[in-house]
Amino acid sequence: MVNLEDLKKEAKTVLEEGKVKYIIGYEKSANGLMPVPGFIKSPEEVEKLIWTPACVYNLTKFLVDEKRRKSREKKPDERPVGLVVKGCDSRALVVLLQEKFINRDDVFIIGVSCEETGVIDEKKLIKKLKGKKAEKIEFDEKDNFIVTTQEGKVKIAASEVLAERCLECKANSPVIYDVLLGEKAKRSVDNPFQSLEKIESLPERERWKFWKEQLSKCIRCYACRSVCPMCYCDECVADTINFAVTADTTAEEKAQKIKWLEKSPVKSENFVYHLVRAIHLAGRCIDCGECERVCPLDIPIRFLNKKLEKDAKELFDYEAGFDPEQPSLVSSFKDEDPEDFIR
């Protein structure tokens, strides 16, 4: 079990030694169960750090902000940023390193191991508690969580409220780190693509219907894109500003720029958005599940990415986020790669 005091101690040490600019971790929020991302700038602030089964966020996304901020500073502080990562989050870091979006010395990695458990799906917990408001949640050995409500403490089987991605986790402890808290461990997962079975078994027509219904709900708030650590492009086809304008760009050129998708939240445009996103994440998504978590309409977006993850594994024996040195899926080929789709 990760000891919070150890986490604070490590964080305090690196801040005191001036090894890092600041640390991105989890902080208690003023209201309720879920934490908030915390930006810890001084050794005193380390007390704010927490580590609970509600620490779901993949904080690597904030490295994208940090990089942008740094690029604008005249004399940037070159020290690394401290970053608290879980196993899945650390795999996102590996992809960012592999793609050279960040350098290894941009970040001081404080790994926390989920050991044989994981983090919660808040919606599952709310359902489970049937109206009682959870104020606090703690780890309790590997199989349970302890939840405090106004009516006292209850023990809940972890398996009932764990996030879907945790039930299929491929790396319960960080695969890359500077310091590691907790044990290297792994919960056994029989089938990491189990969640896909139901939808894969549907006939094509039914699947089409499913996605038509689901994606028609999308309001294009772009939260799924905004939260994804892999969605770091400066310009995204989903935005209306997806081309560089210079002083010489004529009005005509601007008018004739291709608009890949319209702003109307209708089926056709929503499909373009989601398919572009899914394809751009093939061989990159590490299944942190954040996109699905944040969707206000509860659209099961994770299935799309999970399916591509499965294809990458089955067709190319490729798994993202384990080795920063491995060539990326879409920019490399092997002789034995399947090619039966080329006709």
Binding site: K127, R225, S264
Partner: protein, 346 residues
């Protein structure tokens, strides 16, 4: 008009409204939203906060302004498109969401009336449901001049009295909803009225969240345009559009020509919701963006709601529904931000 209605008779009332398009909260998976109802028995008024407010019916996310085509020799043919005028009624409107419509009324009304908005607005009757217990843990209507029993903007307000509803109609539109089903309604007894009063007082006590010193905030904000608070508070912001798209009072929109065929040319001019949290919201065609970072966008959201709007319309542009708090993927909490504004020194 004050009446009581047996809960058992409620579906019958809805049945009598067959000349209306009826909307009510519907649950799909874990998500509640207002949808068109075909079966009156389906109306379930035991629901938490909906994801989107009834704003989405009156000011839909996508609205066609006009259709154009260059199919003949005479040049471009342009056809105006207006929303169909059909009477509709929305059941289960929360008081905060109804108040929100009184705010969008100001924006889409006044000197320039937005015909698209008003065509729908004039046709829709709002039947509210008072909140005995707050439908969201982040409700804070009391802090922004609202209340769980507020009737502002509503045509009818229903309040739960256990086995029956206390039904009040405040407008002609409201009375017209009750008239076709007159026999189902009874006059309230003194006991009903007393119970209603008691419920009203108790409901207020159940609202646990509040903004400190709200009155001080608009003048305070005036001097905070360049404050470093915006940088601090927006550190974790992801730049997604949840807070604004789900807000019942946000009303910004964009207009685009969507081309379906380039030769012969045809397409539609379409208005869609826009979002001040998106980077392209303020992008100039020159490529310059006056609101560069996310701090300036958080500032805009707060300033618009608690300073500019107050200055212009004498109301906060926020009715305390709590959606932006509950749904923010990283827990940015407008109450906390405002409390920090109150206590900010520097």
């Amino acid at each position: 008009m004050e009446k009581v209605l047996d809960k058992k008779s409620f579906p019958q009332w809805v049945k009598k409204l067959s000349s209306y398009t009826v909307y009510a909260p519907v649950q799909e998976d874990e998500v509640w939203n207002y949808e068109v109802i075909t079966n009156p028995e389906q109306v379930n008024l035991d629901f938490p906060n909906t994801v989107l407010s009834p704003k989405k019916i009156i000011f839909p996310q996508r609205e066609v302004y006009l259709e154009f085509s260059a199919s003949n020799e005479d040049g471009l043919e342009v056809k105006e498109v207006l929303p169909e005028e059909e009477p509709s009624v929305i059941f289960g409107v929360r008081p905060c969401d109804a108040r929100a419509l009184t705010l969008t009324d100001k924006v889409f009304g006044g000197d320039f009336e937005d015909i698209y908005y008003w065509k729908r607005r004039n046709q829709v009757a709002l039947v509210g449901l008072a909140c005995h217990t707050p439908p969201s843990p982040n409700c804070f209507c009391l802090s922004v001049d609202g209340s769980p029993f507020s009737k502002e903007g509503l045509d009818v307000l229903m309040s739960d009295l256990g086995s029956k509803y206390f039904v009040e109609a405040f407008s002609k539109k409201g009375e017209q909803l009750i008239n076709p089903a007159k026999t189902l309604f009874k006059p309230p007894t003194e006991k009903d009225k007393k119970e209603l009063d008691k419920n009203r007082t108790e409901a207020k006590k159940r609202i646990s969240r509040q903004i400190q010193n709200i009155k001080k905030i608009p003048p305070k904000l005036k001097g905070m345009f360049d404050s470093s608070l915006w940088d601090e508070e927006s550190m974790s912001c992801l730049r997604c559009g949840i807070c604004t798209y789900l807000c019942p009072t946000c009303h910004c929109f964009d207009i685009n020509d969507e081309i379906f065929s380039s030769s012969p040319l045809s397409g539609k001019r379409i208005r869609t919701w826009d979002n001040c949290q998106f980077p392209d919201f303020t992008m100039h065609s020159s490529g310059h963006n006056p609101r560069q970072g996310k701090a300036s966008r958080l500032r805009q959201r707060i300033m618009h709601k608690f300073q500019y709007f107050v200055e212009r319309y004498k109301n906060y542009q926020c009715t305390g529904c709590g959606r932006c708090i509950s749904r923010c993927p990283v827990g940015i909490d407008i109450i906390e931000v405002l409390d920090k504004v109150s206590s900010y020194e520097g």
